[in-house]
Structures are given as C-alpha cells and as structure tokens.
Amino acid sequence: MFERRLFFHVDWLLLGAVLMLTGIGIAMIYSTTYVTPPTGGGHAGPQVWTQIYALAIGMVALLIFLMIDYRMFAEHSLILFGGLVVLLVFVLAKGSTQMGAQRWIPIGPFNLQPSEFGRLTIALLLAMFFGENRRGARNTSDLVIGGIFTCVPLLLIAKQPDLGTAVTLLPVFLGLAYLAGLRLRLLGVLALAGLMVAPIAWKFALKDYQRSRIQTFIDPEKDPRGAGYQTIQARVTVGSGGLTGKGFRQGTQGQYKFLPVAHNDFIFSVLAEEQGFIGVLVALGLYLFVILRSLEAARLAKDRLGAYLVGGIISGFSFQVIYNVTMSAGLAPVKGITLPLMSYGGSSLIATLAGFGLILNVRMRRFTN
C-alpha cells in the first residue's frame, strides 16, 4: 500500500509549517494556563498535557490518512458520513454537557468531540460526489444534493448548540463546490438567498445569547461589562502587545484572565499580546504558507477527487483561521470558532492533522496511477 518511493514525495515543508504552528499553539497554551498557586512556585496547566497527547494521537491519525490512498477514504466516505451522523445523534442523546452545550462523548479520560470530524467527512464525501461526476460543470441539482449532505451534520451540530463549529461546514461545501466548477451565478443566488433568510434566522433561529453577541459586536461600548466585554478585552489584549509584545508568560490580559477562554478561542490574542505584531506576522505568515502550499497540492493533484478534497479541507481551514484571527482582534463577533492547530482542543487538533494527512496524501500520490 505504501511504496517506499512515495516517501520522497511527502511535502516536508508543509508538514514542518503545520508542526511549527502546533508547537506555537502548545507554547501559548502553556503560557495562558500556567498555574501559580498563592503559596509560590508554579507548574504547567493540565491543558498542556492534554494538547501534547492530542498531538501524539493526531500524528498517528496524520500517518494513517497519509499512508492509505485517499481514494480508499473517498470510496468509503458514505460509511464515514453514516458514522458521523450516528455519533452526532449519540452526542445529542447521551453526550456530556460542558459550558451549557452538549458536545462531547467521554472515552476514558478523554472527551471526543465528533463535530470536529464533520469538515473532514463532508470534504471526503463531497469530493467523491463532485469528483466522480463525469460532467464538466456542476448544475443546480448537484448543489442541492451537496447542500443536503452538508446540512444534515450542520443542523445536528447547531442543535448542541455549537453554531461556531456548525458554520465551519459551509466553507468546506462552498469551497469544494466552487473548485468543482459551480457557476458563480449560482453562488451569487445562494448568497442572495442567504441575505434574505438572515432576518428570519435572526428572529427565529438564533438564541438570545447569539443575538446579543452580534449586537454587542456592532457596538461593544453599549455593554462593556457584559456581552461587549470580550470584544473590548480582545482589542485591549492585542493592542497592548505593541510591536514586540510583552514577552512569554508576561501578558497581563491573558495571564490575569481579563480575556476569557484565552487558551481556546482567543489563543491568537494572547500570541499577539505576548509576541507583539512581529509574532502576529510570523504566525500569519506560517498560516498563509500552509494554505498556499495546500492549494498548490490541489493544483498538482492527479485527479479531480484529490483536487476537490484538498480544496474542501483547506477552504474550511482558511475560513476558520481568518474568522478566528479577525475575532481575536475584536473585529468579528465572538463565535465558538477555534483557531486550527493552535487553539486548545484535542478533537480539533486530531481532525486537523488528519486533514493535513489527506492533503499530503494527495500531493504525495500525484504521480501514481
């Protein structure tokens, strides 16, 4: 299954950049979760170890998704999709509840978050669906069928409620459909429909806390102690970092918990605070390199399936990165969208690394038949 010569076609630069970002993430998690008891001394928070274990598991997943031909995964994507739906239904029925949402399945000492594997499954399924279709351009019915496949897990995840993660499925679908030759006019119609549905969704679909998050994003000063707090504090965190930052573990906003969930949703804010604008440029540069290098893999893919698969995965990844970084500067409403590779979260890291396994896989097998 794995030929020795394939080893030489592994994109080591991409893998290196991915691991560097993961390493930066672990360092920032270490910084924000460092425990300083009043009695003196100090030690790393438990989150660091969780993240390191997740990295180890994620590397195994990456290897699996690298070594087995991506077409094998695509051919069995319907089974994977079925498994995902079962898990998501299970989560809704029996999952553990944390911070007001039911997202996790406890497995021994770990908590599995099935929704994080949604993007990967959807990418495989849609790449298979669009890639194996012989016609050149995609029509409306393709879009509708793809949309339905996307919406099943999306609604299940939104029900948890985890709107942030649910929404990340959309760019996978749209990015993939776009690469598959979906007419731009159709995308335009879709966007228009979205705009028309928005007010109705605002009124009926969104929960109060979600509405207030969007409202306070528009005018954070209206409620600086309440819902606008995170947006303001995010800007203060980022802005106070300055050009060179306050130094590792020297950030005041993250260290003294003025910024909530700093090790998770706002990890990039902490990076900006402690490492400054220079650190931000380095991290953004690495992310951009990872994205462009992945798009290069799509370009080099030997078949449509591979190209679409990479396109779908990287669209979701790019959307997450751009949205989270924008939010971490207080420039977008606070949503539970984590920063892939850097944010604390085992399931997210494992799923993301598995996704890069597939991207590397596509590039590695570009000459095979």
Partner: protein, 639 residues
C-alpha cells in the same frame, strides 16, 4: 482513471485555485493591516487600558498620631479592633453558617442575613464584615467553632483607642470616615475618600498633623479583582501621624471625671495654668464614648446620642452659655476699683434687700449681711453690695472690665465651635434689640443675672486673669509635637489682652475670694489645708421665680446651676479653673467637686499620694434649695 484531470479541466481548476489564493492572501493582508493598526498605531491607548485593567492602587492607612499628656502618659493611641467577616466563596451552606455564627456571637441572625444580602453583588471572595468591633468573647467563640464556620474569620483593623469611661471625650473628639462635604474643604486637604479623619475636638483641629500621610501599594489583580501580587517598586509606605504632647494632666483630668461621677451632676469643668493658659483638665458631661465611633458607629448609637435630651454630644464647656451668678461679682468689684468709684474700704449696709428705680431687689440672705466692705461682700456674696456698686458703675463700665477679663468674648481655645457668651452694654442693646438700656437692668447684671451669660471656658479664663493679675491668657492644649525626630515645643499663643491692674486693688478681690474658702464663706468645702485656695461660688437661676411656678409641672429640670471658680495658691497662683454643675442646685456643691480637683493637684505637686476618687457621700451634696426667694412658691407649687 476517468477522473484524472484533463488539460482543459486542469486549466479551469488552476484558474479557480488562483482566484481562491488571491482572496485568501488579501484577507491575510487585511488582517495584518488590522493588527498593525491596533498593535502599532493605537498601541499607547490599548497599553493604558490593559494597565488600568490589572493594576490597582490600594491606600495604606497611616496610623494616626498618639496623644500624650503633659507628663508623657498616653491618652489616645491606636489599637486594632476585631471584625468578624465572611468570605462567601469559602462557605458551603451560607444559611447554616450564619445560623451557627449567630448562635456563637449572640448577634441577631436576621441582621446577619440582611448584611449579607445587602452586599450580595460584590465579588464572593471579598470579605463582608458581619460583626464590627467584636468583643474578645465573640472572637474566641468564632475561633473555637472554626470548623463549623467555613469562610468566617476575624480580621484586625486599625482603630483609635480612647481612655475608658468616656474621659475627656469632648476634648479628644472622635474620628470617622471623611464625608463628601469635608473633601471639598481646605481643612481636610490631602484626605482621600474613605480615609479616617478627625470629626470633633482635638482630632478635628489637629487632624492635618495627626492624620499622617496615607501610603499606597500597587497590586496586580486578576479579572475578578483578586490580588495576585504586590509591586513593591510602585508602592509607598504610610507616614505615621505626629505624636502630640498635650497640656492636659491625666491625673487632674481623672480627678475632674471622678468628682463629677461622685456628684451625680452634669456640667463642665476647665482647669488652667493661669501663668500661660495651658489647659490641665477639660470636661463636659454627659459624655459619650468616642471608642464607639472609631470602629464605625452603629446607627442606633448615633441616633440615641442625637435625640438624647441631655445632648451628650454638646461640648458644654465651650458651647453652653449660662448665667454666671455670683461668680460675676469680682468683675463688678474690680470695675468699681479700677474706675475709681469705690475703694476696698467702701461699705454698704445690707438689710436683706434694697430699692432701685422703684423696685425692691432682695439679697439672697433674708436677714441681710449688715454693713459689708468689698472683702466681706465677696466672702458672703452679698447681693446688695454689688447692686449698689453696679448701679454706681453703669452697665458699660461693667461690660468693659468683664470683657477685659475674658467674659462675653471667645477664649480662642484650640477646639472647634466655641460659642460666645454675653455681657450686655447699652450699645449691645441698641444694635441687637434696638432699645434703650434701662438703668434698672444694670442691677441684675451686677450679680451675674439678667442678660449676662458665659461659657465655662470663658469663666476659666476670667479666673485665670484674676489670678495672674490681668493677663487674659489664651487657653490651649498643645504643648509639643514630635516631628519624627525630636520633640518640638509649641509656643503658647499670645494672651488675648492684658491690663495692668494695681496689685493692691486686686489684692482686695483676692482676699475676698480667699475668705470665701477659708474665712467661713460659701466656698468652704474647697478648702485645702496649707494651700491658700481662693474661690467664689455662684448659683445661677435657670428660670425666674414666677416662671418656675408656671413650669413646675412640666417635669423639666429647672433647678439652679451651681458654679465654683477658683485659683490657688492666693499668692503666685499656679492653678485656676471652674466647675459648673448643671442643675447642681447651688455653688457649694460645685466647690465640693473642685475640692477633689485641688486636692489632687496639690498632692501631686507635693509628691504625696493622690486622694482616692471621692464617693457621693464624701461630696456632701446639698439637695435643699437654699435660696429663700424661690422656696416658698416652689413648695406651694408642689415640687
């Protein structure tokens, strides 16, 4: 495979991939610009906001200055009181904890609940004080049941320790948190909101010196306000307030308090050194306990102090104005001598009363004193003698000399809110009442009745001026201030005025006053063997005889006030003062209190053991209303 990319397909895909690349790259470029704006362009603003988030300046109260007596004995110092407080985040079952605490301390459980619910919005790690100024028993009870009371602990807080038994409470005053209104005043310049400042008495007057300088410490706090650590480099230590040495003699002060306590009367007393105006003792009664203000006074105590009919917060020595009665007679006699109207040998025949301007004025002694000269008139307190002299002088000359001796003017003692008494004059009546002065009114003035009113402190100055021969010393309380390195003596304030009274004329007055105490006069109870005490009793009517009859049933205390002014020894006096007994019935009762003060003074001077606190019996208080002129109607009025 059929899905392999055809060249056409590949071109198409490459085009779309490039478009995607550009979109994503421009999004990243925009993000970089956004971060540049926040992190570089607006860095200053956000850096300040972050600083304000996590740095807190906490005031470090400075210990107030200690007050010492003239011999270095501590009068007012700082102590720590215990508060029992609750930290909610450490409790498991709040209701059960409060119930146990109520049982352990004897504090009403509902009140504890109320305190907690009033402050429920505060962060739960912040202590809520449940019992202020807790007793040792309460603290021990809480400690003993610590395991049942998670989250309950006792904390020590700095407070002020005043002497027991409310001694000299009006002199020291009290401290409390600075009010909004006070922060606007220059008197309280430098005080921060929430700071403890002097609110009355010496604490108020010398607040600036006593207060010290508040320090502060800068602490790092986290998002819920918990202190993480102190930034030493940005903190400053508080500077303690100045230690002050007062002119007060703790033993004299104690003797005044003991004398009043034994007498059972309220009133005031001021004892001075007539040579320089140093105040040796100063009391106003009823008193209050300034300690109850120090830890934050509770509402009930404050309300009861304010509505109390006896007005315990009023400083009677400075703010009470009363008729001086017969103690005024020396001023009249002196005026007569100095104005050349009489000489010491001038005599008047007292037949128990005399007619002036068509009205009969009685002497207090129904049978009369016979023929009296100045010395005997003072000794026997003969009213007719002074009616006569007063009538010869006229009110304005009386006013002139009384004023020169400190009556009807402020003493300018270094205590707040002194009130001024009144010695009438024709001009006063013209301007204040727009009426002409009638010569008949002068007759009452001559025996210290009528419109004459004085404060006890001005009586002390008057007596001191008689004692020192005409120097109206300024009573003052501050002897020295310790500036942190050494004692700096405080210069006595200059006298308010000075007249040269010829010693021979003064001697006649002094002889009379000596006779009051040592010659079988009305002040015999103040006699101290071997020390020529001079004094004068006075009894001031609270209400006219007719009014007394009408008001007899109102239940108000309308008994006369008793005065005793004194100085000693007769030649080169070193102590002078006044004892004023509110509704003390008559002057000799005041002389009994003065006796204990003088006995203490001379025992101390002579190095003898100080007399024990007198009992009520020792003072031989006379409750009989001795004045014939009020007696009959009162008896018929059923009092």
């Amino acid at each position: 495979m059929s899905t392999n990319l055809m060249p056409d397909d590949r071109r198409h895909l490459a085009l779309r991939l490039s478009a995607l690349q550009y979109v994503i790259a421009s999004a990243f470029a925009l993000l970089a610009v956004g971060f540049w704006v926040f992190q570089v362009a607006q860095h200053q603003k956000f850096a300040e906001m972050a600083e304000n988030n996590h740095l807190r300046k906490l005031p470090q109260p400075a210990p107030r200055g200690v007050l010492l007596d003239r011999n270095g004995k501590v009068l007012v110092e700082n102590r720590n009181i215990f508060n029992i407080a609750l930290v909610r985040e450490q409790t498991k079952n709040l209701d059960a904890t409060l119930k146990t605490l109520a049982a352990a301390t004897g504090v009403d459980e509902a009140q504890l609940q109320e305190t907690v619910s009033r402050r429920r919005r505060e962060p739960s790690y912040r202590p809520i004080v449940l019992v202020e100024n807790a007793t040792v028993e309460q603290v021990i009870a809480v400690k003993a049941r610590q395991w049942e009371l998670p989250g309950i602990f006792s904390q020590e807080v700095p407070s002020r320790q005043y002497p027991a038994a409310a001694m000299a409470a009006h002199l020291f005053g009290y401290v409390a948190e600075v009010t909004e209104a006070q922060l606007q005043k220059t008197d309280y310049e430098g005080a921060e909101p929430g700071e403890i400042v002097g609110q009355a008495g010496l604490e108020q007057v010398y607040n600036r010196l006593l207060m010290g300088t508040e320090g502060n410490k800068t602490v790092i706090v986290n998002s819920v306000g918990r202190e993480i650590r102190v930034l030493d480099e940005q903190s400053s230590a508080p500077t303690e307030g100045r230690t002050m040495q007062l002119t007060i003699d703790a033993d004299i002060q104690r003797s005044i308090e003991d004398g009043f306590a034994a007498s059972g009367f309220n009133g005031a007393a001021v004892v001075l050194d007539p040579r320089n105006g140093e105040v040796l003792g100063f009391t106003s009664r009823p008193s209050f306990d300034p300690n109850s203000f120090a830890g934050g006074i509770d509402r009930a105590t404050w309300a009861s102090l304010n509505v109390d009919e006896l007005k315990p917060l009023q400083n009677r020595a400075l703010q009470g104005t009363y008729s001086p009665g017969s103690t005024f007679k020396m001023a009249v006699g002196l005026a007569g001598l100095e104005e050349g109207i009489i000489n010491p040998e001038f005599t008047v025949h007292c037949g128990g009363g005399a007619n002036f301007y068509g009205r009969y004025f009685r002497c207090w002694k129904a049978g009369g004193h016979g023929t009296v000269n100045l010395k005997t008139a003072i000794e026997q307190s003969c009213d007719v003698y002074f009616y006569t002299v007063g009538n010869m002088l006229g009110v304005d000359k009386i006013n002139k000399w009384a004023t020169l001796f400190g009556l009807g003017v402020k003493s300018n003692i270094d205590l707040p809110n002194e009130r001024v008494g009144l010695v009438p004059s024709t001009q006063w009546k013209q301007t204040q009442r727009e009426k002409k002065w009638y010569a008949g009114e002068t007759i009452s003035v001559a025996i210290g009745q009528g419109q004459v009113s004085v404060t006890p402190v001005s009586m002390a100055v008057y007596t001191a001026t008689l004692a020192n021969g005409g120097t109206r010393v300024t009573p003052h309380l501050l002897k020295a201030v310790h500036d942190g390195k050494a004692w700096k003596p405080v210069e006595a304030p200059p006298p308010q005025s000075r007249v040269d009274v010829s010693p021979e004329k003064l001697q006649a007055i002094r002889q009379g006053m000596w006779g009051v105490v040592n010659g079988g006069g009305t002040g015999g109870r103040a006699r101290i063997e071997g020390h020529d005490v001079c004094g004068k009793t006075g009894t001031a009517q609270v209400i006219s005889n007719a009014g007394r009859l009408a008001a007899a049933r109102s239940g108000k205390n309308l008994r006369d006030h008793g005065w005793f002014v004194f100085f000693a020894p007769r030649d080169n006096p070193t102590v002078a003062g006044v004892v004023f007994l509110e509704h003390g019935i008559h002057g000799p009762n005041a002389a009994s209190v003065a006796h204990h003060i003088l006995a203490t003074y001379f025992a101390k001077q002579d190095g003898k053991p100080m007399p024990p606190a007198p009992t009520h019996e020792d003072l031989r208080i006379d409750y009989k209303d001795p004045y014939a002129r009020g007696a009959a109607p009162i008896e018929s009025g059923g009092q």
